[in-house]
Symmetry: C2
Subunit: 354 residues, 2 copies
DNA sequence: GTGAAAGCGCTAACAT
DNA sequence: ATGTTAGCGCTTTCAC
């Protein structure tokens, strides 16, 4: 079959060496930019490389060097825009420095997360960017510590005693949401979250609560947290609204799936935003600005998080010392049409476009 | 700092060998399941492995073997649900067979696609799953052929003379959309697509056109195709609707971003689905069933595509011959609320939930 | 049954 | 300025 025909062995460094009439060591030197090679020979090597279409085998190369030029990335999932963009960014950044990014998804399982990490350790990756399922105290982080791996924790983390962390400033963003909602007159808000992601969800919840209570001590804040999975949340939310008690005038979802579940519940009841209820969600998505109404959201600074994570990771890889640092990147809050004053008519006009 | 302390060298196969009082060769045999080892010695090896926490270095192992247990995956992007799920599936499948998946994003660039492929070739990957930016005739596929790489083409492909292909049955799905729209009384439909992805878009367009004309020879089908990027499509669509000519009663978008652009244009004009215009999009997304109205969509069978791609890929890796095969997986069409009869009132009720 | 020896493709000392 | 030597950690003949 066609795909086997061209299966010739790739040229090795020795093939290049003999074609250029020098030794393998010289070829290696030329290719790694050592200047102490006679220009004439260097040229012959380059010619031979060109001729044979030679390319260094990164595996063999890494084999010999101490550290391997591989960066591992572990995300809770690949399906959402946030982590998709994150992987994309990290990949570009790693590439820029001549590293290969190997990404894996823990599928929201701490057990899998640790397994993946062990596999990456087997690969002797130079460093790891870990977005833990739950927080910085999980088994994965412990494994990294125990094995002296170099790594950075991102997203669902606050601060760690062994690793640098980079995440969105959830508390500040939540405070801004609180200011906006209180400012519009909301005095009864439901906050929806997934408890498992303790680190960030708590920060988001507390950030909201503190500012809201400060600005409006009489505000009522209901909380529906779900410990484990998203599915139970659906039922929990349904129950909450079925109780027949006073309906909140706004819902603040602390994570993307929660926003979807809330919308789903609203549509089941025939409620429309913002007339019947207002909605703001943590995490933006492309569709949120084209639906009617456009959904208000907290936008996490993906590029900044990725950029900082990689920067600090490479510094550690290069041996920089010092205590671990916890970075918080500011979010942007986009108050779109799904939010209005309680009982007001919807405001007209289109949503934002970049 | 803490993360350096534990930096001891990992035990090598020789460490295990000496601890067990055997040679490295024997350890290797035990670990690779060769049965010709004295049970007693095998046990001692296993004990030593346990004791030292030894794990095989996959790089070094692959170095010596002919093929490397790495599968490359190249997707046009990571940000969409479709490709996110695809990577996730492929990763799991590769893992099941003891391979590591290295995923990279071509960012919709054929040049980058080829570069990534070259890098994967450098890595001597055992096989590649390529979702080409445009179609099976791009430079990347050519590169794979020229270098005798083993691979499978997915998604934006029809059939290839050198590689197996697996994709959604776009034509059949489009035919079903045509049947539905015509059946509801639509006689003027706008089809929106990105021309660059020639392979699938053409199939989707033709599948729709053929069936629609068959069922309703008097139907008017307008087409707005955009050659290169998504952004121009926004302007093109705006122009189309601004011409003041007769407005179509339905829009069929051939790809996800097109659906978003169409929705964006509708909202700009204050049109609502399905009263003012109906909308169906190729590619489903989670949000489409929670917005109001829920957006009708063609669901691609991600799991099936991934599963088949991996299966056929591994068969090729294991040396199976035979001519390349082109597989088409059936899609599901979800006719949600964004579609109605022209001029009718919206139907009530909630959307679907899984 | 087991181990010694020979590499996979490359690079880093060390000679020259 | 260049080549020789010695491995990185592993697997695989091939003798014993």
């Amino acid at each position: 079959m066609a795909q086997k025909e061209a299966q010739q062995r790739r040229p090795s460094i020795h093939d290049v060496a003999s074609h250029a009439g020098v030794s393998a060591a010289t070829v290696s030197k030329v290719l790694s930019g050592v200047t102490t090679v006679k220009p004439e020979n260097a040229q012959r090597v380059l010619d031979a490389v060109e001729m044979l279409g030679y390319r260094v085998d990164p595996l063999a190369s890494d084999m010999r060097r101490a550290k391997r030029r591989i960066i591992g990335a572990i995300m809770p999932e690949f399906e959402s825009e946030f982590f998709g963009q994150m992987v994309s960014e990290l990949e570009g950044l790693a590439e820029q420095r001549g590293y290969t990014l190997v990404a894996a998804s823990s599928r929201e399982s701490e057990a899998r997360e640790k397994e993946i990490l062990a596999r990456m350790h087997d690969w002797r990756v130079a460093g790891v960017v870990l977005a833990p399922v739950r927080n910085e105290h999980g088994p994965a982080a412990a494994f990294m510590k125990a094995n002296g791996m170099t790594g950075v924790l991102i997203d669902r983390v606050l601060a760690d005693d062994a690793f640098d962390t980079v995440s969105a400033d959830s508390a500040a963003a939540s405070a801004e949401v609180a200011r906006a909602l209180v400012g519009m007159g909301h005095r009864h808000v439901l906050v929806v979250g997934l408890g498992q992601q303790a680190a960030t969800v708590r920060a988001r919840l507390e950030g909201f609560r503190r500012t809201a209570l400060e600005l409006a001590p009489d505000i009522r804040i209901d909380v529906v947290l779900c410990e484990s999975d998203v599915e139970p949340l659906r039922a929990l939310l349904h129950d909450y609204f079925s109780k027949g008690a006073e309906r909140p005038t706004a819902v603040y979802s602390l994570f993307l799936k929660g926003t979807l579940v809330a919308l789903s519940e609203f549509r089941r009841r025939g409620w429309h935003c913002p007339n019947d209820i207002s909605l703001v969600g943590f995490d933006d998505a492309e569709w949120m600005q084209v639906t009617w109404p456009a959904i208000a959201a907290v936008v996490q600074p993906v590029r900044e998080i990725a950029g900082n994570a990689m920067e600090v990771l490479f510094r550690r890889i290069e041996g920089e010392g010092g205590p671990p640092r916890a970075r918080l990147e500011p979010c942007k809050v986009l108050m779109r049409e799904s939010v209005g004053s309680p009982g007001s008519v919807p405001h007209s006009g289109g949503g934002d476009r970049q």
